[in-house]
């Protein structure tokens, strides 16, 4: 006698989200309960504090950057559509999608969109380039106080050397894609649902 249906999310909205993100009906309702349980203020949107309340996220060194990725430029609240849109990047790529022609727009969870998400985590000022400083900043977040400035600097320099092709001492999105050619991005940036 399962009566777990979503009342506050209308059928049309679920259909729209399904088309846009590719999640199934049950996944959307599940994530909607999650969204509402995080939304302590009960106003239909999540602010940064709502994310920071998750302890496992708070201890993640890149927690703040990930939280930032949910909020569009300059805004402080994200609604359910926005929430789903960002989460859609992590949907696993199904086999039947791999062979489809890319007609109108690319699905949100395509390889290049996943890479774009990761690129944006590095590219703090959103100028479509990862400068040496930006790389250093993110590396510093991940290692904390355990590595000295010089050592971290040399790691950053070496990484840029390996990736940079046009010699502008920063990594553009295309160079980023090239460096990660051999990496199984689809698998590393996908979250399998347990239901």
């Amino acid at each position: 006698m399962g009566s777990r249906a979503s009342t506050l999310l209308r059928e049309e909205e679920i259909e729209e989200i399904k088309k846009e993100t590719g999640f199934s009906h049950s996944q959307i309702t599940r994530l909607y309960s999650r969204f509402t349980s995080l939304d302590k203020g009960e106003n239909g949107t999540l602010g940064r504090e709502d994310f920071q309340r998750i302890p496992e996220l708070a201890i993640n060194p890149l927690g703040d950057r990930i939280i930032n990725a949910f909020f569009p430029e300059g805004e402080d609240q994200v609604n359910f559509r926005g929430f789903m849109r960002t989460l859609a990047h992590f949907r696993p790529i199904e086999d039947n999608e791999k062979n489809k022609d890319h007609t109108a727009s690319e699905p949100l969870n395509s390889r290049s969109n996943k890479l774009l998400f990761a690129f944006r985590l590095y590219d703090l000022d959103r100028d479509d380039k990862i400068s040496r400083d930006e790389l250093l900043q993110v590396l510093r977040m991940m290692v904390g106080v355990n590595i000295s400035d010089e050592q971290l600097g040399s790691i950053a320099d070496r990484t840029i050397q390996e990736a940079d092709q046009n010699g502008d001492n920063s990594i553009s999105f295309n160079e980023f894609i090239k460096v990660l050619e051999k990496v199984d991005v689809e698998q590393k940036m996908s979250i399998r649902f347990l239901h």
């Binding site: 349980s37 996220l57 060194p61 990761a118």
Partner: protein, 345 residues
């Protein structure tokens, strides 16, 4: 460059579902038990279901609730009156005997008031004098459930109002440990009072809930080490409620005490199982934290609960930065390792 993927995925996974935040709200049920409160997405499914639910409401509020409230008042009233009377008797075996009888009787009335159906397992392991009883904490009702089967000395803060009256009269009949709010902050004082109590073998075993806060009975969270430092025998007890008849979890940020009690009394019943586990003592070379974790694992195993290392205090407070620093340290080691490999090759 690709290392970022690891943290990224972990972060988003924890956004989708994490182990900790869901412990602080009531458990979700597989199928509905005809209480609106446990059905989060209430929707009109069928006429028959609504009729059944309506009937349920009538029975619960019209019949069961008044009965239970009367019993509750009787139980509490008797407790206050009788313990005060016993307080006038001189200290001695007679007093202890009477006080035990009175306490047991009143708690049993309160148990009936909640229609709590309790199954006690392994009563041969029941806590003895001079020991400390530890249990997982789901609601204040845990106290009533345990105390109706044996006599304990309670530990807690002195409250004002009705609770305060009850506490003051209880302490006249037999020694409980009530703290002033200011004293709770002084851990040494607390520890001293507790150890004085356990050394006196005529005094009753102390009842403590080391989690420090109410958890929703699907898991056991970190045990605070204070009670495990004292060094006497620890008697673990596991309490597991059956959520199909009524959810006993007290979400103190959502409901106040009176609201909570009303909800308890208007559920179908409170069904729970209590397991008395064999006593444990701290072993050589084990410090208080390890001992606490050992006891916690035993309780979790018996009750079928998830054993978590997270602190129950996360319900209200933020997580400490030390955890983040640990993650950072691990990654640094990895990063330096791979860099050295690269420079060598």
């Amino acid at each position: 460059m690709s290392d970022i993927f690891y943290f990224c995925r972990q972060g988003v996974e924890s956004i989708m579902d994490d182990e900790v935040t869901k412990r602080f709200s009531a458990e979700e049920l597989e199928s509905w038990n005809l209480l609106t409160r446990s059905n989060y997405n209430f929707q009109h499914i069928s006429l028959r279901l609504t009729v059944l639910w309506g009937l349920g409401v009538v029975i619960r509020y019209g019949f069961l609730l008044p009965l239970r409230v009367t019993l509750a008042f009787t139980g509490v009233g008797l407790l206050v009156v009788l313990t005060s009377i016993i307080g006038f008797l001189p200290n001695g075996r007679m007093k202890n005997f009477l006080s035990e009888q009175v306490h047991l009787m009143c708690y049993r009335i309160c148990v009936r008031a909640l229609t709590a159906i309790i199954t006690y397992h392994d009563s041969e392991n029941k806590p003895k004098n001079g020991g400390i009883c530890v249990a997982n904490h789901t609601s204040p009702i845990d106290v009533i459930i345990l105390a109706s089967d044996g006599c304990y000395a309670m530990v807690g803060q002195i409250h004002g109002g009705l609770m305060g009256v009850i506490q003051k009269s209880m302490v006249k009949a037999c020694p409980h440990i009530w703290f002033e709010r200011s004293e709770v902050k002084d851990r040494h004082l607390v520890a001293k009072r507790l150890s004085d109590h356990v050394e006196d073998k005529t005094k009753l075993p102390i009842l403590i809930f080391p989690e420090g806060t109410c958890i929703n009975n699907t898991s056991v969270m970190m045990f605070k080490k204070g009670s495990f430092e004292i060094g006497s025998t620890v008697y673990p007890v596991a309490i597991k409620y059956d959520p199909r008849f009524g959810d006993a979890f007290w979400n103190s940020s959502q409901f106040g005490m009176v609201n909570y009690l009303l909800r308890m009394m208007s559920s179908w019943a409170i069904v729970c199982s209590v397991w008395y586990l064999p006593p444990m003592t701290r072993e050589e070379g084990e410090d208080a934290v390890q001992f606490a974790n050992r006891v916690k694992a035993a309780i979790a195993r018996q009750g079928g609960l998830v054993d978590l290392l997270w602190d129950g205090g996360l319900k209200r407070g933020k997580v400490k930065d030390t955890f983040k620093e640990e993650q950072q340290k691990l990654y640094s080691k990895m990063l330096v390792g791979t860099q050295e490999d690269r420079s060598r090759s």
